[in-house]
Amino acid sequence: MSLKHMILILCGFYCVMGIMPLFFGDTDYIMNILIMILIWAVVASCWDVIMGFAGIFSFGQVAFYVIGAYSSAILSVSLDIPPVFSIMMAGVITGLFGVLVGLPCLRLAGPYVALVTFAVHMTLVPFLRGPLGRAIGSGGSQGILTIPPIKLFGLAFSSEQLVPFFYLTFSLTIICTLVLVLVIKSYWGTAFLALKDSENFAASLGISAFKYKLMVFALTSFITGLFGALYAHYVGMLSTKMLSMDVFTILMIMMVIGGIGKYPGVVVGAVITVTLSQLLAPLGMYRPLIMGAIVVVLVLFLRDGIISPIIGLLSSRRKVGLVEKSLKVSSKGK
């Protein structure tokens, strides 16, 4: 997708999101959905960058999210570090962890990367619940119950004050989205795509797989960890239930709906998935049925996700415009 179209879609999304609290600021129910959309949009975007653009089959996205959440919670609860700093530190810790996970993955390909990264996900539960986790302050099977809210300029940001928290998340989301767009559209993004299409050919052009793959692991895990930390201070408590397959599945549905490697499709995917999942909650068991049906329909009829028809529409208009322009030029010439 061209940078222009990408910015157009993202601007539309953020403009709409930005004014939402003016209409729904008093409705906690809607505000909660909006905040979760913002958080998931970034987490899913990171996954899309690593999987869709860099072509690395990483299944450790939820694990990075949880590592960020737990890191910030432990730092702020056990060491009394103010949440503003603990969130940043959590991002750095998760980034370093991403590099650690990325290193063995560089020697692997395809399904083996998926296995290693998913193994990280699987080992987190026993680690956090076990004596090692308890020793570092994970709270074991009970989890962490008293995560303090973020305090900035005398203002408290938590689930008790939804509008301030929304705008805090909104600002962070815009910054991280800009970073991701810059990465995708820069030389790095092109290098990711080249490595994804043909690693050998990319290497012959001087693109270092080691450097770029490690970089993508570090960057996406840093941002994911940052938003995991933000989530921890939003909900005020954590447990290893965050690592359930439910969270993993929801994140995957966002990717499928949005289209893998079709950024910013995944942002649209996050909006649809979170909204549907929350609005359908009163329908009980019909919620997963409807969600499942949507995924099946999309996989069958819109393999490139819901964003592909929009891109098609925008591109066809552009083509029509170009044709009209060339016709005008040629008629003038005559």
Partner: protein
């Protein structure tokens, strides 16, 4: 294409607006339960009790002359943001007058519903939830824990196991529990209590949900040959597979399943094979014969509707709806939350098994009117051996030495 687009718009509009439409002459009752995911089974057990109470009230002319209207919400697997969303939806948007949740989380529910004033009844059964309540009792004044915590229930299990009319061949116990707050709480308490009286905890195994291959653990158990094997896994599949693999080469051990005996699927699957296993139900209804005619009529009605015995959660969920309705009736205004909460706390409720009252930390501690019931499976059914407190034999039912124990 246009028609499809039009239909899609109509569908979206209906989805978004139907929940906003409500009739003013009904009283809304919020029911956030796990309807999907790993805990959907226990969610269904609570729902049956709640539904029965709502139907009974509505058939009797409603509450304050109005019919009760249930507003449900799927709490899924209790992710904090989902629980928060449930509270915002039910209390904030739908303006329900009370919330009947069953098992609703491990503390995030207390925070989420503590933002509002509508009475919130939950069966969290673990200390973390109580700790959240204790962090600000004034804020969370509308929370009601409808059963004791895991630790208190484990103390009762210990008392029952040591009171069984049975001579243990040795003083060795093996404890297997899940790796969540509930399992750890029960396992720790039992371990402490048995050690205190000179028993040896020969093996303590903490397992994740989904453990169905018991070979390595059973090999060790067979080597130990303990007098008691206690299993605390509140999920049917794991305890069923354990029994199936244990019974192939059993040890001379009393099989104590704790709360794990109560999921409906355990007995419907194992049937008479499970004869001999002991277990408990907090705030339970003694069976097969209920303690009085009123309670027996309720059990009969339950069985005629659902065609199965009363599982854990059903009766106490029913009772919490009735207790709330009783308070609303006394106050005369379903939205006067302060007065309804005050009534619930101070007046208690005259239930099917007697007068019950919420105690310390707004918890319905085990009491004669809402006892912890200790059962043994006999002839494929749950038979009450003891009720607690005080721990005393129930009715004429007698403990039977399990068939796999060789004399």
């Amino acid at each position: 294409m246009r028609k499809t687009r039009f239909l899609a718009i109509i569908f979206t509009f209906v989805m978004l607006t139907t929940t906003l439409v409500f009739a003013a002459d009904t009283i809304k009752v919020g029911v956030p339960l796990a309807e999907t995911g790993a805990y959907a089974g226990s969610g269904d057990n609570y729902w049956k009790g709640i539904d029965m109470a709502i139907n009974e009230i509505n058939k009797g002319g409603g509450l304050l002359g109005k019919q009760l209207e249930v507003v449900r919400f799927d709490s899924q697997e209790f992710a904090p943001e989902v629980v928060m969303q449930g509270a915002n939806y039910l209390c904030g948007k739908m303006k329900v007058t009370s919330v009947h949740a069953g098992w609703a989380g491990w503390g995030q529910d207390i925070r989420a519903y503590g933002k509002y004033d509508a009475p919130f009844f939950c069966d969290d059964g673990a200390m973390p939830a109580v700790e959240v309540y204790k962090s600000d009792p004034e804020k969370y004044y509308n929370t009601y824990f409808i059963t004791d915590t895991g630790g208190d229930q484990a103390n009762s299990m210990f008392n029952m196991l040591t009171a069984l009319p049975y001579e243990y061949p040795n003083k060795k116990i093996v404890i297997i529990n899940t790796d969540d707050a509930w399992g750890m709480e029960v396992g720790d308490t039992l371990s402490k209590q048995f050690t205190k009286i000179g028993w040896k905890v020969a093996k303590r195994e903490t397992v994740p949900y989904g453990t169905n291959e018991w070979g390595p653990i059973l090999t060790k158990i067979r080597r130990i040959n303990p007098a008691i094997i206690h299993i605390e896994i509140p999920s049917s599949q794991e305890v069923i597979t354990f029994f199936r693999q244990f019974i192939k080469q059993p040890t001379n051990s009393i099989l104590s399943y704790g709360w794990s005996i109560t999921p409906l699927e355990v007995l419907t699957t194992l049937g008479k094979d499970a004869d001999g296993i002991v277990g408990e139900m907090p705030a339970g209804m003694p069976a097969p014969k209920a303690p009085n005619a009123k309670a027996q009529a309720w059990v009969d009605q339950y069985m005629s509707i659902y065609k199965h015995p009363v599982p854990a959660g059903s009766w106490i969920a029913y009772t919490s709806v009735m207790a709330w309705a009783d308070a609303v009736k006394a106050v005369g205004d379903e939205y006067d939350f302060k007065a309804v909460n005050k009534h619930l706390k101070e007046a208690g409720y005259d239930g099917l098994q007697g007068k019950m009252k919420f105690g310390k930390n707004n918890t319905l501690h085990a009491q004669p009117a809402a006892p912890i019931v200790h059962y043994q499976v006999q002839d494929g059914k749950l038979v009450a051996l003891f009720t607690d407190p005080p721990l005393k034999p129930y009715g004429e039912y007698k403990f039977q030495v399990p068939r796999w124990i060789k004399k």
